[in-house]
Amino acid sequence: MHRSRFATFSIYALAALVVVVSVFPFVYAISTSFKTGSALFDPSLLPSSVSLKNYISLFTLAEQPFGRHILNSIMVSVLVVALSLLVGVSAAYALGRISFKGRGLLLTTVLAVSMFPQVAVLAGMFELIRALGIYNKALGLVLPYMIFTLPFTVWVLTTFMKQLPKELKKPPSWTVAAPSASSRMCSCHCCGPHWCQLDYWHSLPRGTSFCLHSHLCSTTTSAPYRSLFH
């Protein structure tokens, strides 16, 4: 396709603008992390002297075991992603590839669950987690995170399963396999990119449930929070 010179220029200019706006705050935070003492109050982007003091104290201060917070985060993320995908892909197969009564209603219900404002389950979740004995433990975070991640996984995968060519649904005559094989086929071959995508989305915006987090774990904190509040 051939573009006019003006169009090409605008595309590159817009792309540059998008990059700068997206990345600047992050770059500024990195730059700030190298500043110490009164240099912190100087708003210039490049620090006049670079110091690693902040990073060292992050891992050496006894009252703030940052390494353990990172491990907490990894553990919770891995558990939530694994559980969401495992449960989500089987549900999405049923919702996307099999037509049965009440499918629409079920999808709406799943959506309704994800629209739970986290505070709407706060009181009950508080009680549940305390009853299970995981109050104030990183493990306790897996439960509330599932409220958000599972419906999202199901919706994205269902939309995707629906878009797959219909032929995949009817197993070719040479297989005796019923839905399970074609489900495996669909999920392993076609959903590959989507799995990664979901993985990415789930493991990164861990901050979404800060609300629940801040109540259910007063001392066991995962990585990002502790460093910012202490």
Binding site: L86, G88, G124, L150, F210
Partner: protein, 302 residues
Amino acid sequence: MNPKTKTAWLYLSPMLLVLIVVALWPLGRTIWFSLTDANINDLDAAKFVGLENYFGEYGLFANPNYTDGFWESDWGISIINTLKFSVVSVTIETLLGLGVALLLNQEFKGRAWVRAAVLVPWAIPTIVSAKMWGWMLHDQFGVINQWLYDLGLVAQKVAWTADPDFALWTVVAVDVWKTTPFMALLILAALQVLPKDCYEAARVDGVHPLRLFWRVTLPLIKPALMVAVIFRLLDALRIFDLIYVLTSNSNSTISMSGFVRREMVDNGYMGYGSAASTALFLIIGLCTVAYIRIGRMKLGED
């Protein structure tokens, strides 16, 4: 039950079980608490009080102590704040997200890098980005104020997160920065699976690009756009963390979730807080139904 339906429910059962444990049961308990006078320090001592938390003397609605009217009460203000925030931020994010997605769908050198850069705001946890922006928007030492001051756009530095005139719109701006990538990515994913032949045909016929966008692209990506907007809207209506970190418990920006947290955790009124959260749940439900009706979206259909 025919075997197909049986298989479907078998596949669905793990998800249903998980959802019951993490969502339905806690929700039910919360609604129960909203009918009691529970205190967070001693849940067992809770007594049933009926609808007292909703419509009683110190209830959420019809409270005789609201001398300036409902919309001037903390609860009323938090409802207005949340609605304002949601409508404005989701609208801007959808438009910007669409723009960014269309841009990233063009072919140009370094596109992969731009796509990666766009992900940055979404990849940073809200708490971290809120703190980052909080520092950049600092009224004394913030870089934003410094720039505006140097350019002569403001006569004196502005307290972006503390001034009631600006605080809510500051939160909206940070949310737009943070969430536009989410919209852009979802829309981009939809753009990339569009059939190429429509565009070939349109090019042969010499259709104007704008017309092509309105008549072909937009209708084709509409389902994906609807899903994206729904998720964003639901997310925006329950906003808590961004506001709490940027402006803490300030009355000018408090959201419904913030109100619930304040009553339930800071003040310990589990019953009253649960009533507010149940009301919030209903309000969000109504908003969603209204949105789906307006968008004439048919859920669960192809």
